[in-house]
């Protein structure tokens, strides 16, 4: 049975079709979910894709956090369903307190649009459960606010609980501890700045993102079966 993945669309989201395309190619049933929807019925997993939700006014993700759909996303996350925030989606999940810390402007104040190397640091997240730990993936980044920050206590916790999911091999944006992606305590909520959906076919220059998307779908299916 194929996994039904809800892809949240806020005004200003712009990566939803790329995510849908990449997931569909892997056999999933993607479903776009408008931010005003209050229910996510029959959804096995959620992706909060990239873009500029609500124009990124005030702070990235600050307004999106209050969209009606976010209550349903939080409920699914609490129930253990995979919830993945990519780029702006990562920023939304931190503002929604589904993930700790925050993402602020890149060091050097440059908008970064390039392919970077990231290392898989743990297999205990919904996005890396089937990925080889230590593998280096080539993934595109495309952000102005990807500089991950949190307090020292949170960082200690992330490290001790193996919740740093991906690290940059060469830190492009000043992120604390080279962090490119983290997960919650249970591992089902994951946020990352790189775009796996834009590295989902060799024709795009890399298909290294497929290993992450496959892990997401297998986590979603495991949940359906349970």
């Amino acid at each position: 049975m194929s996994a039904r993945v809800g892809i949240v669309v806020f005004p200003g989201t712009n990566c939803e079709l790329d995510v849908a395309y990449a997931l569909e190619a892997l056999g999933a049933e993607p479903e776009l979910v408008w931010h005003q929807d209050r229910r996510l019925s029959g959804i096995d997993a959620v992706v909060v894709p990239g873009g500029f939700a609500h124009g990124d006014f005030l702070r990235t993700g600050a307004i999106a956090r209050f969209s009606p759909v976010m209550d349903a996303v939080s409920e699914l996350a609490a129930a253990g369903a995979p919830v993945v925030g990519i780029c702006n989606g990562f920023q939304v999940l931190t503002e929604a307190h589904l993930l700790p810390g925050a993402l602020q402007k890149n060091v050097g104040l440059k908008f970064l649009c390039q392919t970077v190397e990231v290392r898989v640091e743990t297999d205990r997240s919904a996005l890396t459960s089937t990925a080889p730990v230590g593998a280096v993936l080539h993934l595109p980044i495309n952000h102005f606010e990807g500089n991950y920050v949190c307090d020292a206590k949170t960082l200690d916790q992330l490290r001790a609980e193996e919740r740093v999911v991906l690290r940059y091999v060469a830190n492009p944006n000043g992120s604390l501890d080279d962090i490119a992606g983290i997960c919650n305590e249970a591992g089902n909520v994951v946020g990352l700045m790189p775009h796996p959906e834009r590295a989902s076919d060799p024709i795009l220059g890399s298909d290294d993102g497929v290993v992450l998307l496959r892990a997401l779908l297998s986590a979603a299916r495991a949940r359906t079966a349970a």
């Binding site: 005030l58 702070r59 600050a62 307004i63 209050f66 931190t94 503002e95 700790p100 810390g101 925050a102 602020q104 402007k105 890149n106 060091v107 050097g108 104040l109 500089n147 920050v149 949190c150 307090d151 000043g174």
Partner: protein, 86 residues
Amino acid sequence: MRFTVHVEITHLPGILDPQGATIERALPALGYENVSEVSVGKSIRLVLDASDEAAARAQVDEMCQRLLANPVIEAYEIAVREMSKA
């Protein structure tokens, strides 16, 4: 009662301020070599109707916690002033 409110949002101490750091590096290029500790924040002004100053302040504090600031990385200061009736 009607109040004017000014919220000043700054980076929490210890949190890197990329805008401040960049401006601090740019100023010497213009010949200003004696500048340090540049920090960039946000300034939000609004008008609020409340029963008294304490109620106004409490509501603004709540709004800062929930939306106006991100307490994970930002500190904020609230100034409340009663508007003149004139």
